[in-house]
Symmetry: C2
Subunit: 768 residues, 2 copies
């Protein structure tokens, strides 16, 4: 954990001073994205020190052959990788023929990075003395346009501070890149065509195997003291790269500026043979706007995003910075414009975890997007899974399930399973339930039922079929049991009767049976279409009910708790606080078998069930389970603290809730796990948002009604957030003294605050 | 299964007719070994068809970097591979400049292979028409000397059948070889020096990383019609190979013979700088003996081996061939001359399973070597583990165990763990118990206690310490439980309270406590030395006893059986015979999770415990367990049928016992599992021997007394085997009518036959 490295600031991420050891971490933290592409904060000019180069295009992946020890039936053939894409940001700089490289400069001063989250741009500035004793001052601003999401812009300003000099600026495109996270050192890209047209250039390339065609493009211009320089660049071109080399004689302190527009057009969005033509149109539009115009639009776009999604915290700048960093990166990663896309655990900030979609999306991200965007965005996330239903059925079939049973993959890019540890791929099947739960959650929150008859019911049926087949009747127990699963707590593998999975599975079946009735009576046409398509017979649903009504749940009479799984009480139940600190984190200090035999919980498991189904249990039951399980929880998953923060708040333990909040919100900024250089933990960022809104704010939807039980951490003066509840925007401000609520729109809205009804009249703040 | 491919013959393995599809399988079946080196039955002349080239040197391995999906703490860095060694058998043949290559010949007739097990040689002969229409007749005899175990000899006879011709014979050495089973395409060998001296040649090379220095050598001579040809060969040499090229003008039907001696000298056995000098001495000795002399010695050596280890079966040639094939390969693999060596699952017949030592050695191979060799051989096998004790302690320490607890590796070459599936490496810990059991078994059979005070007790202590730490007290059960293990049935992973492991662990502790008492009273000096060395205190052994006396064993009151593990009865208990045949073998047809959830048993698990500890349970208890578990056993491990054969025989179910016997004895010959081309199943071959001696013969040692309960399969007229029982050789012949027993030596011996005492007087056959 490094708490001094990033300066506290309410709206910006700021690094001051050049530390080569931090370059890779900063490349992650200052990453840019616009939902369609993204990139790590790599330097434009060459850098010979330790760096992790990364540019990514949403939806463009490579099916890297999986690498496992011993093959097992049902393993996927490949592990989809988010690909390092051709580099368009590069600008080589030479002063008096010496390359500018911060790793070789004899001194670097005033080095500063700022990621301005409010306006959506990234600035880097420094003074440096080069090995040839030339001193330069550099300031670079870069952003990826939210509006024109195929383009980004760079303004690279340079002054020679101690002499007149010959400067060469060489902006380039390069498709000769590699992936760090490659299993077999395969070549992932093939370059087919390189074109230069004046100050524009284009590289046509395609991915191997998946054959995504991408045109990487740029346009460059040079200005001296603000005036366009009349220099014709020299073309530099080889088999994988193309550059415009500008040779400029500059006077001491003259301001040299290079404007570079660049980006990608992709055949996911345009006809393959039009990619260069479209790129030209995009560049035309960027040129018309000019850098300043694009930047102005960028600020406007981010203002709109913040207008709805910001959470303002008074009195705690680190907490403020943390939540905005989380909200900013969530919006950089996914904007909901394209239902073929989803939210990768590392977003556009790194390669790790390959593939884009985990159960994180349904379990953690959906609530954020439902509450801070228009309904269409959440719909897109649900539709993504609907579109993968056939693949999920195939996947289940590979594992021996029949009759349209669906098992969604643990990790995917295109609906196929990409993960290959048997204990996860084959057994961590609770993910399937999160997908049904998201359908329920969408309806609960938005009030929009239409997704279910249109698409959702088919998903529910596939999932229910899977669960019914996955349970088996135990003659011994005379109940249905579920053997050989891995729950959300991945520090247990291949256990029997994981309570969370059993409970969720039962709920999925019950919920599906209910929705079948609703759709049958209210949407008979859809009902008939779906029953026909899925060949669903009443004998089958009766069988579902038979299973769901007689499921075994491990329970301890002595402790009055549901057991995480069979045999949990056989473990040595030493609490985490009684463990020697030198033993933590256990995933780095202990062998895997020791972890498996221990009672230690990586992330909420039974408690995840209590989070999803809070209304099924009384407060005292929650308290008993929280008090039993949290002491054994090591929170070594980024997804763990948020759920515990919400539940601690629910139990009125605000100090504990606040501790969990800080851990989740500043996980990457403070680098708790010493791994931020690999990229950011994007999906858990949505958990941070939940910690405030559902945790401190106590927001729930019960029986179509919005509830709040506002509380505030000691350390804060106030916090404010907005919720889009069924197309009305509610602003909630909680201070130590009171909570106030205000809605937009035309209709009044009844909400409940601390279980008391409160009527909200549009544009009238109500204190409660 | 291919039952017609190998001709039935009591003493030889015979293949007739050339089938390119069978080349790789035959390369396995006709493999040669002499305990110190071995080789697949690759052709001497070049072959462009599908082939799996393999030459192996005992104890020479390569630590190939492991390849896993996701790393886990405690995983080994490398996976030791038995290396494909430099090739010394190669003889290129050209007739009128055309290479002889059976893959390109226009016709091949009279192709025949014979592996003469009685005499220890391998012969291949054929007639072939080459693409240039030259017809040749070839006969090759090859063997690896048992006496001079650094050398082998080849006599390559060739006639041109339809014309005079120019023949080139080019015997060579080649160190430019690769391993099929390489994780990272690393280069495994480095060639440092190539020397040619007249008709001798030497390649000095060493393995990468492990740096084993090997001198591969040869000497060649050519004869025409039996007379040494006065031809000086031309030297052919490149960076990795060296050859002697003989150009001979032969007349039609003239007999051309090439004698080639070749082999390895290794710095495991000689000073590194003496390897070529030693090779020269070895070649001198071979030359003096000449081919015929060496072959004569070979026949004598094998006669001696068979004298003691043969099992003769009358009336069933396939059963006869099967058991001899098994005994032959066991002796080719391990002769007990070198306690640094052990018995790899594939011996010298393939690369699969890398590493040389599994628990197979102690559980399956030891009884064979104890009974058919001098005691020193079994001692060597035990000493091997004693020499690895420090490494086993380190291995346990890596996993979090302390205070000298020892965990022997699942797979090893040098004492370090080489296997890297967590569910096996970390959890299949019952292997540790097999090592203690072998110590007991050695004493039980040989009557020699001296190993225990000298070496064994330290091993027993390390293992007992491991078990005591591996159990944990369950507050819930108020007993000690063992969580997270994999039993011998690898179709279950990470289960709790595997009965076999719990029982074996308890036995290990109890046995160690007893031996501590014995050594204390009878070998006080050793006792003091060991207690001192291991810092063993009485508080510790009291703690062992406390654990061992209160261990939980899963048991079903309803079925009156011990349960394989917790929760076994929750499975869907459909018997194997009621499974659709299309679903078998399940390891090829089912996904891994389906296998894990099923009740199907790969190899004896609870029943393995009943095999080891038969005398702890009554016959009726065995029967109950056999009847419960065998119907769920798919026998998809080569180690499964033998134990079941022994137990079926014990229960008087001879028909079933015979079926199991056939399955184990002809597993490779009939290629039950369609994988013989990868190599043979060496360790399970010892199980075949047990099936006859312990199964049909009913041999047991109880209270220092040898017992037999002879039975005979319907299909046989008689069978005869010998047992070295405490340095007296007992010949047992069982026919349908009677059993007869005869001993060598000077002393009379009391044995029991069908529980009745029988006195054996030397050299007097007794019928009983």
């Amino acid at each position: 954990m490094n708490q001094d490295y990033i300066k506290a600031d309410p709206w910006s991420i700021i690094e001051e001073g050049f530390d080569k050891e931090q370059v890779k971490s900063s490349e992650s933290l200052f990453s840019l994205g616009n939902g369609a592409m993204g990139q790590r904060a790599n330097f434009e000019e060459q850098y010979s020190g330790a760096t992790f180069q990364g540019s990514y295009i949403a939806g463009v992946y490579y099916p890297d052959k999986t690498r496992v020890g011993w093959w097992k039936n049902g393993y996927p053939e490949y592990f989809a990788k988010v690909l390092n894409a051709p580099n368009w940001i590069g600008i080589d700089v030479f002063v008096n023929a010496e390359p500018l490289d911060l790793n070789t400069c004899t001194s670097v001063s005033n080095f500063r990075r700022e990621l301005n989250m409010k306006e959506g741009w990234y600035k880097r500035s420094f003074n440096a003395t080069m090995p040839n004793n030339v001193k330069v001052g550099v300031e670079v601003i870069r952003f990826l346009s939210i509006d024109l999401d195929e383009i980004g812009a760079i303004q690279y300003n340079l002054q020679v501070l101690n002499a007149d000099a010959e400067v060469i600026l060489l902006p380039y495109l390069d498709s000769g890149i590699t992936n760090e996270d490659s299993n077999w050192d395969d070549k992932f890209w093939n370059t087919t065509k390189i074109v230069s047209e004046g100050e524009r250039a284009f590289i046509q390339s395609h991915t191997m195997k998946t054959n995504f065609a991408v045109c990487t493009f740029m346009q460059t211009e040079v200005f001296v003291n603000g005036n366009k320089a009349q220099i014709k660049p020299t073309l530099k071109k080889d088999e994988q790269s193309v550059g415009n080399s500008y040779i400029i004689e500059v006077k001491k302190n003259q301001q040299l500026s290079l404007i570079k527009y660049g980006g990608y057009t992709v055949d996911r969005n345009h006809p393959k043979d039009q990619l260069q033509a479209v790129a030209n149109l995009v560049l035309d539009e960027a040129s018309e706007n000019r850098f300043e115009g694009l930047l102005k639009k960028q600020k406007d776009s981010w203002a709109k995003i913040w207008e709805m999604s910001d959470i303002a915290i008074e009195g705690d700048v680190k907490a403020q910075q943390g939540i905005r960093f989380n909200i900013f990166h969530l919006n950089q990663t996914y904007l909901g414009k394209d239902s073929r896309l989803n939210i990768g655990p590392k977003g556009f900030t790194g390669e790790k975890y390959g593939g884009s979609t985990y159960w994180d999306t349904e379990a953690y991200c959906l609530p954020f997007y439902m509450a801070t965007k228009n309904q269409e965005v959440a719909w897109s996330l649900l539709e993504y899974r609907y579109n993968h239903l056939e693949k999920a059925i195939e996947n289940a079939h590979k594992l021996g399930f029949i009759n349209g049973a669906a098992l969604y993959p643990m990790v995917t890019m295109n609906g196929e399973e990409c993960h290959n540890e048997w204990e996860i791929t084959f057994e961590e099947i609770h993910r399937n339930g999160a997908i049904s739960f998201a359908i329920y959650n969408y309806h609960r929150f938005t009030g929009d039922y239409s997704y279910i008859p249109k698409m959702g019911l088919e998903v529910l049926i596939g999932v229910a079929r899977f669960w019914q087949q996955r349970f088996n009747f135990s003659e011994d127990k005379q109940q249905y049991v579920m053997l050989g699963v891995t729950g959300p707590n991945e520090y247990e593998n291949n256990v029997n009767n994981n309570w969370y999975t059993n409970y969720l599975a039962k709920w999925c079946i019950d919920y599906t049976l209910e929705q079948l009735k609703v759709v049958k009576s209210k949407y008979p046409k859809d009902y008939n279409r779906i029953v026909d398509k899925t060949s669903l017979a009443s004998a089958e649903t009766e069988n579902w009910a038979k299973v769901a009504n007689n499921i075994y749940f491990p329970y301890s009479e002595k402790h009055e708790i549901f057991l995480q799984q069979d045999g949990f009480l056989d473990k040595i139940l030493i609490r985490v606080k009684d463990l020697d600190k030198s033993q933590r984190p256990i995933n780095q200090k202990w062998s895997w078998d020791r972890i498996l035999r221990s009672p230690y919980i990586k992330q909420a498991d039974v408690l995840q069930g209590f989070y999803f189904f809070e209304d099924h249990f009384g407060r005292d039951v929650l308290e008993k389970h929280f008090d039993f399980y949290e002491p054994f929880t090591v929170h070594e998953s980024s997804l763990s603290p948020c759920v515990h923060s919400i539940q601690a708040a629910k139990l009125g333990r605000m100090e504990q809730a606040y501790k969990f909040y800080l851990r989740t919100s500043r996980l990457d900024l403070d680098d708790y796990n010493k791994e931020v250089e690999e990229g950011l933990h994007i999906t858990s960022m949505a958990g941070t948002w939940m910690s405030i809104v559902e945790g401190f704010g106590g927001m729930r939807v019960l029986n179509d009604e919005l509830h709040f039980t506002p509380q505030i951490p000691e350390q804060w003066e106030s916090y404010t957030f907005k919720i889009n509840f069924r197309n009305q925007i509610i602003t909630v401000k909680v201070s130590k003294k009171e909570a106030s609520f205000e809605i937009t729109g035309e209709k009044a809205l009844m909400i409940k605050v601390n279980d008391k009804p409160v009527e909200l009249i549009p544009r009238k703040a109500v204190q409660a």
